[in-house]
Symmetry: C2
Subunit: 111 residues, 2 copies
DNA sequence: AAAACATTACGACGCCGATCGAACATCAGG
DNA sequence: CCTGATGTTCGATCGGCGTCGTAATGTTTT
């Protein structure tokens, strides 16, 4: 299925973003992405988050994040690169990513 | 039980805020508060949002918003004043309220 | 072409949360 | 003290979302 399509910047709504970030797992995923940069679904970075869920579940969460406009997925060979849409998000919702805080903070946010 | 207690500023986490704002009704309530200032539970301002839910449901949502640290409730006679914690939120999560957008926008957010 | 690997799509199940109705609490006014 | 008005709490219901297992899709390699 070639490239999975994410919504254009203008189509990203704060409503969808909030719903996407409301789940603790998805929030952790975004924090990990913002923290350690892009990775693939089976990477060590992902495991370092402490998340232990089935692969289909992970795929589901990534789909939600993708459709909300938070992440982008690019096919690279037999793997898929997952990347946070830093610039788009910063352009549309300035300060949002920073207020999520790092992964280590575990939810403390702005301190 | 007199005054309902809301968490202090330091105790407000972005996690709880995100969960609270993920619900469309609660998001509308916050937008209305940010838009038109404080009001009481039975005020016209509240009705102008187009929300039509039972009183117990409204009470429930306000409780969630209160415990998440988004709003404050003060007893005034037979009524209860609901107010958005502008300063606390702005201090802890700068730019958050603005990125929610006005009530009229209906969710467009930053534009 | 076929096998192996990485990820997604599809159903199905379980649980949390949104909702409502009714009972209770609190306060103002007579 | 009794009554009416305003919110809250409680209990029950119900729909949606997160979860998992398995089948399907696509890609690289042999």
């Amino acid at each position: 299925m070639s490239e999975v399509q994410e919504p254009p910047v203008e189509a990203v709504t704060i409503d969808a973003v909030l719903v996407a970030l409301a789940d603790p797992i998805r929030l952790t995923l975004v924090r990990a992405l913002n923290d350690a940069g892009d990775w693939t679904c089976g990477s060590d970075v992902l495991r370092s988050t402490g998340i232990t869920i089935g692969r289909s579940t992970l795929s589901h969460h990534l789909k939600v994040l993708r459709e909300a406009g938070l992440v982008r997925t690019r096919v690279q060979g037999t793997r898929r690169m997952v990347m946070l849409r830093h610039d788009d998000l910063e352009h549309r919702f300035p300060g949002l990513l920073r207020m999520l805080g790092p992964l280590a903070a575990g939810g403390a946010g702005a301190e």
